[in-house]
């Protein structure tokens, strides 16, 4: 019974933890402009994050080494530092977007301006990192984040027009957007599903929780069941926007528009539940990205790190996170639109993906690290196919962003 509970808990938190501000915004924007025409990207992205996350988790569980330790070992200090700089800055951008997302969600709940919520949100994130244990943090944000299942409820309450959605899915429906815009959002959606911080966090979390080879089955189950269910929620978000906002000719530009279909479908109760779910999901992601800033630097430079230690036992790790949160608050304080920050962060996530993917793919094949737990042949083929995909998305991201003027 206890075992079953642990399995269920792991899967449920994986569903709740899958979505962040990038997924929420990008899926709603895409749904309102393209319907389900880009739903295939969500599927490709979810398969990718499953592959990638379980590989990183296995490497961490078996060898005890997290991502940025491997980056430095395998790429050497020179290339490793370039990788660190790029990954760190993009992660900082994602962190800023997530803190902005918490503030926007709290604004929806209270109608108090989001800029007043930004310092509150950052302080709360820091206090959780400073005082709350890893398990509690993961389980609470994951379970409250499950309220986002409300998007699926709303989707069915709206009475989806399946023939129309299928037409969009099979690319039979015109969406009136240029091919460049279509592909720009394909890359953005891919970057939203496969954000690099998820991998830093997943592999470091495996070390935090002291996983060993015996925990691998549980971790694989969490990933292989939880993430696809999280992906279905992404499709529901896009579907809600496609059903209500697209016919009105509204292109999503704010978080308040993302949740409008929910009020339409389910009224106040569902609206309140979803707003709470958005707070939890962005809060969880803000914790993960903040921890990831500390993880990446500490692992590269060999500092002591980990939430399972007292802050005094990992001083530079904790200082890094405090400074990064302050930088995020400072960026948001300039009044820059958090939704814009989010859209840019998912595109740059796509750019940075190969940087963390490649070292993990290499080490997952190295018997010196993994012994007999190296990638099986089939997984390796899939891993390499995905590497090509990730490389193409990475190279195409910035030109597409420039050509389309960030999707305008």
């Amino acid at each position: 019974m206890k075992r079953l509970f642990a399995v269920a808990l792991g899967v449920l938190t994986a569903i709740g933890g899958f979505l962040d501000i990038g997924d929420l915004v990008t899926n709603a924007v895409v749904g309102s402009r393209f319907g389900w025409s880009l739903a295939w990207v969500v599927v490709v992205g979810v398969v990718g994050i499953c592959l990638f996350a379980q590989m990183a988790g296995r490497v961490a569980a078996v060898s005890g080494r997290a991502t940025f330790e491997l980056v430095r070992e395998r790429m050497g200090p020179r290339l490793g530092l370039a990788n660190l700089a790029a990954s760190f800055l993009i992660n900082l951008l994602t962190l800023t977007a997530e803190v902005g997302g918490i503030a926007l969600a709290l604004q929806l709940a209270s109608s108090v301006h989001y800029l007043l919520w930004v310092p509150v949100a950052a302080l709360a994130v820091w206090q959780v990192i400073w005082r709350v244990g890893f398990d509690v943090m993961e389980n609470v944000t994951g379970l409250v984040g499950l309220l986002l299942v409300g998007f699926a409820v709303a989707f069915f309450l709206l009475g989806p027009d399946w023939t129309q959605l299928t037409d969009q899915l099979l690319q039979r429906a015109p969406h009136g957007e240029s091919p460049a815009t279509y592909w720009f959002y394909a890359v953005a959606l891919f970057g939203a599903a496969l954000t690099p911080y998820e991998v830093f966090f997943f592999s470091s979390g495996a070390v935090e929780e002291g996983w060993s080879s015996e925990d691998l089955a549980q971790s694989r189950l969490n990933v292989l069941v939880g993430f696809p269910l999280g992906g279905l929620l992404s499709l529901a978000i896009a579907g809600c926007a496609a059903l209500t906002l697209m016919p009105l000719g509204v292109e999503v530009t704010t978080l308040s528009q993302v949740v409008l279909p929910v009020a339409e479908a389910g009224g106040r109760v569902l609206l309140i539940a979803i707003i709470l779910g958005v707070v939890a999901a962005t809060f969880g992601a803000a914790l993960e990205t903040t921890l990831s800033t500390g993880y990446t630097l500490a692992q590269f430079f060999g500092w002591s790190w980990g939430k399972f230690r007292a802050p005094a036992e990992a001083a530079r790790f904790h200082i890094t996170m405090i400074v990064c949160l302050l930088v995020g608050v400072a960026v948001l304080a300039t009044g820059v639109d958090p939704v814009m920050v989010t859209e840019i962060s998912v595109v740059f996530s796509a750019v940075a993906l190969p940087l963390t993917y490649l070292p993990i793919l290499i080490v997952a094949n190295d018997p010196d690290y993994l012994g007999d737990q190296v990638n099986p042949r089939l997984l390796n083929i899939a891993g390499q196919v995905y590497f090509v995909l990730i490389l193409v998305a990475s190279v195409a991201a910035i030109p597409l962003m420039i050509v389309t003027g960030v999707g305008r």
């Binding site: 005890g64 080494r65 200090p77 244990g133 890893f134 500092w303 399972f308 802050p311």
Partner: protein, 134 residues
Amino acid sequence: MTSHDALSHPPVHIVGQLVDARLSLLDRQVVDVDGRPVGVLDDLELTDVASPLEPGTPPPEVTSLVHGPIVLERIFGGRRPDAHLLRIGWDAVAKLGPAIELAAPASELPTSWVESWLRDRVIVRIPGGRHVPR
């Protein structure tokens, strides 16, 4: 790299395991006896070799692991004052694997002044800084 080095000339019998220092030691994590990260290996110090080299000279031996804030010098060049480097004697090494495991606890090893300064001046002064998050 054991103390019986394979790169020496003339060939000696190798006792123990052959390790490529560049591939398997450099840039590896160094962890203490409890698995706590101590640093990342930046360099190895060897015993001096007489110059000119006489035939039959014994091969140099590794004396200590070197780490500390020198990764930027390794990339961009330049030299740190010797006092900034942190050294761990080779005899403290317990096991070589995905990480270099030491036999001693971190408290008995030299620590970076940045870490201790931040800990003593900032972290422990914030409430809760000494408590493990629960």
